[in-house]
Amino acid sequence: MVIPPLRRKALRDLRRLWAQALAIGLVLAAGVATLILGNGAHRALSDTRDRYYADYRFADLFSDVVRAPLALVDDIRAIDGVIQVEPRIVKLARPEIAGLAEPASVLLVSLPAQLGLNQLHLRKGRLPQPGTANEAVVSQDFATAHGLQTGTRLTVVMNGKRRALSITGIALSPEFIYALGPGEMMPDARRFGVVWLPRPALEQAFDLKGTFSNLVLRLAPGMPEQRVIAALDRITAPFGGGGATGRGDQLSHAFLDAELKQLGAMVKVLPPIFLLVAAMLVHMTLSRLITLEREQIGLLKAIGYTPRQIAGHYLEFVLLIAAGGILVGFAAGAWLGAGLAQLYARFFSFPFLVFGTDPRVYGLAALVTALAATAGALQSLRSVLALPPAVAMAPPAPADYRGRRPGVFRAIPMRQTGRMVARHLWHWPIRTASSVLGMAMAVAILVASLWSFGSIDHMIHVTFGLAERQDAKMVFTTPEPMRAVADLRHMPGVMVAEPFRIIPAKLVNGPRSKRVAVEGRPADARLSRVLSPDLRPMPMPDTGLILSEALAEALALRSGDRVEVRFLDGRRSVVNLPVSGISVGFMGLGATMELSALSRAAGEGALISGANLMLDATAAPDFFAAAAAAPKTGFLNVTDLTVSRFRATLAENITLMITVYVTLAAIIAMGVVYNFSRIALSEQGRELASLRVLGFTRTEVASVILLELAVVVLLAQPLGWLIGHGIGLAMVAAFSSDLYRVPFVMGREVYATASLIVLGAAVLSALAIRGRIDRLDLIAVLKTRE
């Protein structure tokens, strides 16, 4: 096969300019990979969740009651839009696990009927025999955390009685993808698990024969859930129900949704910016590279090639680079995306992973990239092709430095080499601006990738350092009278105990409503505090509510407004209360009141749900042992464990994604800086070689080009910080959900780190360029024209 000479030239040019082509290709690959991997991982997880929900018949509505007769199920099934009802018994119990200091809890759930809702995915073993009272299936994470196998026994204290359960299987459930213990902010598989038992076993243990304590429903597709919830609440209210929720408020789903939303935000905000930055850089770089080919283009024209053939040749050249970058980007993106999705899938305990590729994402990435490269090449080709061959082959006339007030530099005392740099930058404002912008974008994408670490630290500092300062939070099985605090204070290791009351309620403001847990606390609470947006402790108002920023926003309420509170527990009173203040809060929707004010509003006596505790660290094991033995203990949240779970969870999610992004951003930064310096060297190589002939040392000559690079890099920093700040703000907006509000904390160290990475890239490029300056061909300068 005969290779046409122009194709041979394109291939040889590629080999000649391999370092630059590689840098451009890597920038492109990084841009493409970001788009592919983010979208791929997000799509895989969304698809997997959807399949999981569909295959295992995940319910649409969830409702707790105290105790309702099974006969009620027929009434519920008759509600318009309900296609399946599953009455269940769901109860909290305490497992006895040797070696676990802090008391744990398990949620006992009656096994779904065959073809019932929220089916289990058995990982090991079998389901219990329907009639048995002592066989159980255990959730996988809990089993793994405690080394529970099929055939082993688990002792659980149910309704005050110890029962030994034989584990017949290990399972996953779409209902507990995110298995969050009661009152916990983060999943902790050691201290919370789910145990499924045949219904008769639970009926017997909790004295619930012929009744149910929980309902899950499936709705007809497209059925508005609000109408069904209203009808359901009317039916269940007499039985202690009335707080039915849709999937949106189902804990596991809501957390998973928040996670996917965050991932989606990272996918939607950052990668397009990466890709655009890469495209912009490639556009600029290739356009300048082609400009340097001026003489060769003139020559090709002179020997008879048509402009179309010449354009074709250079397009082939740039598309070879682009295609290389795109293919590497595809491969890297698909590989990283699959890896990321697998890690997430493991974290979420999905039974399988659906990994489909979206050809549109690939197509878009390839198209944007190829267009940017082509446009960059065509732009300069057009101007060069417009020249008659003789003119193109002749050196371009010396750049005219009149105009643009070159005189401003005459007045400033500086060395002539400094003047050269200043005038060069000043004279080509668009080129200088685009170089500065390119570097600034490299800084910006780093800033945008790095900011979240500081935000997470801030979140932890505010939530656990300033607001929730208790060592442990004890929640009783049922509300207790106020004197229960005194008992707590007498437990070993307890130094301070501050009571609290939690009553579920629906807050309504016109068409907006939110289900929240209203928390009552003493006016002088010092362990768990409510903080104002400027992070100062807020005094508890006499009657009103303090809402977290997220809740106030969701309900469109401001301080001074009034809100309707429909309590969903006890006497189910409905009151209208003033909003007395807005508090800061990054996790969940918070509504707080003074303890006695809450009791009055709910129409109940002085009851408490539990207490926040400060413990004597040396006596903590004694306390945990006593708490585990105390019949009132419903569950116990341990702050240290929550913080470490919080960090671990975020480390596994955000950190992983960000690390990938930072790496890709660093590659882009390197590519940008190297290309800018290489092109600057090509453009000024002749001048620099002339200086060498005139007796300038290598260092003096290098300093000319390095000074220019330094000026551009330095100018780019503040601009990059500014742009990165803006991208960060956009990401915060995209991150926010009811469960999380990510504070926007942009520490100076973020700017510093981003700048250091880009400066590091600049120094490496400078070293590479320095080598080329040392090898400048002095004689060629005398012989060749410009």
Partner: protein
């Protein structure tokens, strides 16, 4: 000239390039000496070795063998740093294509060199010698080819070089402009006392020199001394 001192001397200068399998002998055993202030024209066809000769004397190319003695030192033994120092302090270059820095004015282009030279003249003085006093503030783009070349000459002599090497200084110019450039070179040679070597294709130019060398096939094949030197405006092109 007989009492004048030898400024630069080449002994057995040989330069061999390897061009693929072929060996190209650009210079073959060239001996040469020039006196202080001497004005030498180097003639010869393309590829005869004259540019290689000048480049080695000027310290921007290296000989394969032989010696170049300047002020008692053999510059062929110099390392890169010493060669840079040699060019910086002792050699002025003028190129066919001027090689001015477009972002610097005429005066600043000259100042580029005076800033780093050991004993320079004022840049204005150098421009005065080449007759460009009125064009200090002009950028290269505002100057004609001849004017640009005269700025290049001013830049080359501003350091008060011992040696002034010019490779085809009039090669890109018309005859009228070429005369102006040659006049500038003659004046530069006279006023600075720099030993001047000019490479040219134009045989007419030899009449303005003290001495003419003719190169062919890497050797000096002819040497001619002019009894009287013509003025550049008397030379026919």
């Amino acid at each position: 000239m007989s009492h004048a001192t030898t400024v630069i001397e080449a002994r057995g200068l040989t330069k061999t390039y390897r061009n693929g399998a072929a060996e190209v002998r650009a210079l073959q055993d060239v001996d040469f000496a020039a006196q202080q202030g001497e004005f030498v024209v180097v003639l010869g066809p393309s590829g005869s070795g004259k540019s290689t000769f000048l480049n080695i004397l000027g310290g921007i190319d290296r000989a394969t063998s032989g010696a170049v003695l300047f002020a008692g030192q053999d510059i062929t033994t110099f390392n890169e740093q010493a060669l840079t120092r040699y060019r910086r302090d002792h050699v002025g270059f003028v190129f066919q294509f001027y090689n001015l820095v477009p972002s610097l004015t005429a005066l600043e282009n000259v100042a580029l060199v005076t800033e780093i030279a050991a004993n320079p003249m004022r840049p204005e003085e150098a421009l005065d010698i080449v007759g460009l006093s009125a064009r200090h503030g002009h950028f290269p783009a505002q100057l004609s080819g001849g004017e640009q070349q005269r700025v290049a000459i001013a830049r080359a002599i501003a350091k008060r070089p011992d040696l002034l090497f010019c490779d085809e200084p009039t090669g890109a110019l018309d005859s009228a402009t070429g005369v102006l450039v040659l006049e500038a070179l003659v004046e530069a040679n006279r006023s600075t006392g720099a030993t001047t070597l000019i490479i040219t294709h134009n045989a007419g130019i030899q009449q303005i020199a003290d001495r003419t060398l003719r190169f062919a096939d890497g050797r000096i094949v002819d040497e001619l001394r002019n009894a009287t030197r013509k003025r550049p405006d008397q030379v026919s092109w």
